[in-house]
Symmetry: C2
């Protein structure tokens, strides 16, 4: 996809991945970038996360980010911290910047394997030479177990654009997990506003998806704005929300071994927080996920997950729809199980839960759990 | 197994399960029973759970319990409540008791399918005729996806005995899930003491195991004592703990699709609560479970789960042993990955985590996650 004005990106193989697939990505902007970041809540944090957070609190603008998808450079002790600094330094050299402070870092891949910094020394100048106004190679270079690139583009009136690029496949869980998202825009948006709204947008998109419930130490979702284009602010925020939502759904749909996207809507909860809690519990339940995989209209497992979510005090008035067909209304109702099962054999399964307790609504997305998930994860590192 | 003095049990087919396997169990005591119960924390509660809790708070002794493993009789609305009362009433009739109040009920199986009370009317008199001082048929009759019966017996000095019978396979999770446990003893133990200690014992046994993280609306762990034998109280409590521990381990080892028992020990935590939280997070992580399944010494996933457990503030000094071999000590350490992988191919995998933060220890048990788990759960109900 064509990048917004002033941005360039590259993706090459630095031979960090043994497969020889693209594994090093670079984004640069001709103009200083206003930026916002939401990072993992895992107590285990990769050095790139800690370093970016340091840059973040300085409030200073940045100009580039370098990403590798072969080695998470996490849990590598002191050496990991220095290696991460070196990556930023080497990128600064390759881009002829005066200081590595203008450069952020991100990484994903195996935890606990020391970085081979020589590979970065060799590859970063090559990456700098391949920079162009297109997202494709970068989008490819940040993937791990993803089965395809994830990119979304939105045009704004007046020529501005928002382009989102993400990776994420396993271990995706509310509150972020083995996912990286980079949203680039040429819109003229104040950094303070960006930092105020981005966490809210992330909370309703990337933090509403779940693949297996694990969360990773490397997750980050960025938005970068270089201010080249005047935009209608309302149109911009709507566009940014759309990009975040579409990326989040692309991630969960590509969950490891996933064959179906599960949308869980909870309505008429007492609070939005409770609605979200219930929706996430259902989207995360291995029993619901396997039932969806088997096209089994097993509403009992859904009700059960709502029960242990802790979000509901009175279970008496709950009703449940599967593929828009009522299957439970405080007690079992007659429904055509075969008909629903057939309609669950498609890629999208909709679960609607009416708590009849108030007026707050929420939604979460998950994917089915297949035998392939186990295969993918039983032999990823060795 | 031979039951303690004064107890009899039966297990027959009431044709509730389509397979024709045993599905109706009965335990009776010649003498009134002191009893204690720990039940599910799920907000969704089967009528049997609510009814037993009512009996419990009355403080009155009971004489029998009837269990079916074909139909959970949960989420069946008002009808479910009355059907459950009827089951107790029919059992009272079959046993020639004056009142159904002396009888508790338990059920497991599919949620949301109305009970066919005729089957109980027909089967309960038959079950009453088959009562004998042996646990085998009862242990068989309470199983669902279990691959075998789960029974443990402990002899006490002076002739007293403790016999535990349990079922549980999928959806086993700290705080109880699709598990039922019945511990019978002829020991002379005060009911108040039993009710004081049983929750603590359950907390360190059944509440420390996890199969897939889901919790069920029907879980209950009972202990019944008929007071026939004088016992040494210290010996009794130790024996009761042993029975609960062994049953819990039998349950998790028989987790759906499980091939390995995972023991997760956390030492030197600041608090026991924190140690338990970290141990449970590791035992529950799908990524750790699949790695254990694949005999992959992937300590990064273990560290990661400790990180998101929320139990640890300083991740810097953690060390991890896999099969007693050090694999991480604040940073990666050299280890023979092939050697550990080979040693992980057995039925028991030991994960030890030293938090170096205090002096509290804890342990949790889990099982590996296999492709068979998905197969079992993708087509259980239809």
């Amino acid at each position: 996809m064509k990048l917004p004005v002033g941005f360039k990106a590259a993706g090459i193989s630095a031979e960090i991945k043994e497969s020889g697939k693209l594994d090093l990505g670079l984004i640069v902007s001709e103009y200083p970038l206003s930026w916002a970041l939401v990072a993992t809540t895992n107590r285990l944090k990769a050095p790139c996360v800690s370093r970016n957070k340091g840059r973040y609190s300085s409030g200073k603008k940045v100009k580039a980010i370098v990403v590798n998808s072969g080695n998470a450079n996490c849990a590598n002790g002191e050496k990991g911290i220095w290696d991460n600094e070196d990556v930023a330094g080497l990128a600064a050299g390759a881009l002829s910047y005066n200081t590595p402070h203008d450069i952020l870092t991100a990484s994903t891949g195996i935890i606990g394997k020391p970085l081979d910094i020589k590979k970065f020394r060799k590859a970063l100048p090559k990456a700098a030479k391949k920079l162009k106004a297109d997202s494709k190679n970068f989008a490819e270079a940040i993937t791990t177990t993803d089965t395809h690139r994830k990119q979304v583009s939105v045009k704004l009136r007046g020529g501005g654009r928002i382009v989102g690029i993400a990776k994420g496949s396993g271990m995706i869980h509310p509150n972020m997990a083995t996912m990286l998202a980079f949203v680039l825009t040429d819109a003229d948006i104040d950094q303070d506003l960006l930092r105020e709204h981005w966490p809210q947008i992330v909370d309703k998109s990337f933090n509403r998806i779940t693949v297996d419930g694990d969360t990773s130490p490397n997750d980050m979702a960025f938005v970068f704005a270089n201010g080249r284009k005047r935009v209608d602010s309302r149109e911009f925020w709507t566009g940014l929300e759309q990009v975040a939502h579409e990326l989040a759904q692309k991630i969960v749909r590509d969950g490891e071994g996933a064959t179906k996207l599960m949308t869980v809507r909870v309505i008429n909860a007492r609070t939005e927080e409770g609605a979200t809690k219930a929706a996430k519990a259902v989207a995360k339940s291995p029993l619901v996920k396997t039932a969806v995989h088997g096209s089994d209209p097993n509403w009992g497992r859904i009700l059960n997950a709502v029960g242990y979510s802790g979000a509901v005090t009175d279970m008496g008035n709950i009703s449940i729809k599967l593929q828009s067909i009522l299957v439970y209304a405080g007690k079992p109702v007659d429904f055509d199980a075969e008909l629903i099962s057939e309609s669950m054999q498609i890629n999208d399964v909709l679960i609607e839960i009416d708590l009849a307790a108030g007026q707050a609504n929420s939604v979460a997305w998950g994917c089915d759990l297949s035998a392939d998930y186990v295969k993918i994860n039983a032999d990823y590192s060795t």
